[in-house]
């Protein structure tokens, strides 16, 4: 009796999770795919635990949360490839309680100019507003009055890039200093950080900025923050709306993968059931399901998807439902049905019929478990198809734009000409994640296929 039990366990363990894992790990491709999947799993756990979805949605759709971030900045590690020391963001804070006037010094040793320079003020005053005088001192000892500014409200910002009077002032001063004609335009960041020569070069060294404030009342106070916007920011850079791309990368992982897994899992299961019913019952049911699959073959999947999501303004999850609805009678049914027809003739099915098992019992307990193993590899391998489908729908602009996904980043990148303007990081990083997903699932499917269909090993 005991021995028999042992035997049963052995047979059962053939398809146990542990057994499969062991076999998968015996392939190099299997190891690679599991490593990548573990990486994604870690990323999902990290995202879900440390970065609440609400917060991500708020940051992704807010226009004010990113004012102090540069526009279209490459990721920090990108600088290694460019061979140049590209500027990073510099933030310097002032407070009128530190003294008046207050001077701050900061080094600027980068090879390129900053993209923008803004000063954010926070003032508290009663009566007439404070007046700020801003001085700029360069490493070569040159001292300029940047601006004399009357604070306009409690939250005030000086956008120096858009300040045409400053730009004109810098232009006339610098051209007169250089003397010879120049073939580049002088913008505010260039004017403040360039060497006074006819070649465009950054003057490296320590810069000083001084704020001198005139208060109307003694109780008034002023806080300021100078932001010198760089060309590098964060681990994944920023987009055209100054949003850090890593928000969408992080939350795109659980969203995209659950979209892909959800679609492929439910489609495979429904196809399996439909194929089993079709193969087992035969006759009118069979021909009905077969005709339906033929009609589904002719239905143009993507245009209909686009049409539906455009006309009905669906979000990702109702769209997932539509994807499933549009794929349940897919071409997978034909191959699965052929397998069902083979299984149908096996003796154990006949035995089940002999003891009076119902049709549904036979389908769900005897046929489906038998044909499930060869289908699992297809299930795994088709996950990337639906992840890419998300990207396609996002590219056509029919997905909910408030949801941060990988496809969303690609769409933004495309709309803003990232391919042509050289913002390659914007396309490459989400693409890399998409490729990693595709490769890991397809490798895993490939390996599983070899395990459950040993015949393939010979070829």
């Amino acid at each position: 009796m005991e021995k028999e039990n042992d035997k049963n366990e052995e047979i059962a363990s053939e398809y146990s999770l542990k057994g499969i894992l062991k076999e998968v790990l015996s392939y190099k491709a299997g190891v690679a795919s599991l490593v990548i999947l573990c990486f994604f799993l870690g990323l999902i756990v990290y995202t879900v635990t440390t970065f609440p979805y609400k917060e991500a949605i708020y940051q992704w759709n807010s226009s004010n949360a990113h004012l102090k971030r540069p526009r279209n900045a490459a990721p920090l590690w990108w600088g290694i490839f460019s061979g140049k020391n590209l500027p990073k963001n510099i933030n310097i804070t002032f407070n009128s309680t530190e003294g008046n006037p207050v001077t701050k010094e900061f080094p600027f040793n980068y090879d390129d100019f900053p993209t923008e320079i803004n000063i954010f003020f926070k003032a508290k005053y009663s009566g007439s507003p404070p007046i700020v005088k801003i001085y700029w001192e360069r490493p070569d000892g040159e001292k300029i009055i940047l601006k004399e500014h009357t604070i306009r409200s409690e939250d005030d910002t000086l956008y120096l890039n858009n300040d045409f009077s400053l730009e004109n002032k810098l232009n006339s001063e610098i051209t007169s200093k250089i003397g010879s004609p120049i073939d580049f335009s002088i913008t505010v960041p260039r004017g403040l950080f360039m060497k006074y020569s006819d070649k465009l070069d950054v003057l490296k060294g320590n810069y000083k900025i001084t704020l001198e404030t005139e208060f109307a009342n003694k109780s008034d106070s002023l806080e300021g923050e100078l932001v010198v916007y760089g060309k590098l920011y964060g681990i994944a850079g920023t987009d055209h709306l100054r949003r850090p791309i890593h928000i969408a990368l992080l939350w795109g992982t659980p969203l995209d993968l659950s979209f892909g897994l959800g679609a492929s899992l439910s489609i495979t299961v429904i196809e399996l059931i439909a194929a089993s019913i079709s193969g087992w019952f035969g006759g009118a049911v069979d021909s009905l399901i077969q005709r339906l699959t033929e009609i589904y073959m002719v239905l143009p999947f993507l245009p209909i998807m686009i049409m539906i999501s455009l006309f009905y303004k669906l979000n990702m999850w109702s769209l997932l439902f539509v994807v499933i609805l549009l794929s349940i009678f897919g071409s997978g049914i034909k191959t699965t049905r052929a397998m069902v027809l083979q299984v149908k003739t096996l003796p154990y099915i006949e035995a089940a019929q002999a003891y009076g098992a119902s049709n549904w019992r036979i389908i769900f307990l005897y046929i489906i478990p038998k044909i499930l193993p060869p289908i699992i590899p297809n299930l795994v391998a088709s996950v990337p198809v639906y992840v890419f489908l998300e990207a396609i729908l996002a590219l056509f602009g029919v997905l909910d734009p408030t949801q941060p996904t990988w496809g969303r980043i690609l769409e933004d990148a495309f709309q803003n000409g990232a391919l042509y303007k050289g913002y390659t990081y914007w396309v490459l990083i989400p693409s890399a994640l998409l490729i990693l997903t595709a490769i890991s699932f397809s490798l895993l499917g490939f390996v599983l296929d070899r395990i459950v269909n040993p015949k393939l090993k010979e070829l």
Partner: protein, 339 residues
Amino acid sequence: MTLFLTVLIAVYLTIVIANAGGYVDKIAETEIRTNIAMVMRENPSFRNLSSEDQKKFLESRAQHELRRRGLDQPFPIRSLYHLKNAIVLNLGRAMYMTSDSGSTLVKSIILERLPVTVLLFTTATVINFFLHLFLGLRLSRKYGSFWDKLVISLSPSSVIPGWFYGIFLIMIFYSWLHILPSGGLVDYPPPSGTIPYFLSVLKHMILPLLSWIIASLFLGIYQNRTFFLIYSTEDYVEVAKAKGLSPRQIEYRYILRPSLPPIITSFALSVISSWTGAIVTEFIFNWPGLGQTMSQAISYFDAPVIVGVTVIYAYLLTITILILDIVYAILDPRMRIQG
């Protein structure tokens, strides 16, 4: 005949889906109103009427026309009217878009773009088919060699769709190397003369074609090679070898011929699913075909065009299946007899 029924039902489904939002009804109604307004504009006797009366007249005429065409009927009957229109390609008028010749008929917009799509799609399909066939055959001869193993290990690369490779090709050949155009059909301005025009189109086709070829190359070769290997172990191949036939003869007569039907079947499935990829590829490469029309229609929210393009794709898929059925019948005599 069954195929025709299939298309009928597929188009009907498309219409029902589209009309659940009321869009197809709106298309029909807009067309009626435009027609009546045009007639009124051309008839001088209406000019004396005040704009108020003109509006009233237009309204009553439109209601009449709607009733005459049966558009006031309940949806099931109304949908049959839409079906008839779609089948005869009477797709209504576009709301905003026009064809290059200035027509607002959805039909002429689509017919203008269709050849461009078919050109790219068929070229890619034919190239892929023969490439997979011959490379697969060569590889099956060198079973177990380095190249064989390389193709097997690279075959998972085919899960990445063609349009995605397209992005990288644009980055490499346009943004970085500046040797090929990033998209479009011809140079701007189009070169005069047939041959320069043709060459320019060819130059613009390189990248889209390349993206499709790369995407399916390794998996296609791998699948075909496997089919060849299965058929090369058949007994009649051994007999042919024993008879002393040359390897070439054996290959063409006894391996290639019988393995073509399953190859065509798997190829047919990939062609049908690649229509989806075609739409996106056109979008990425700015190829002025149906896929790009679709994306333009999306940005204008031009419902008639979207519905029209969807219907046309249903036809294209049917035609693809029909052609593949015919090819199948030619290659496999057994199918011909079953007919």
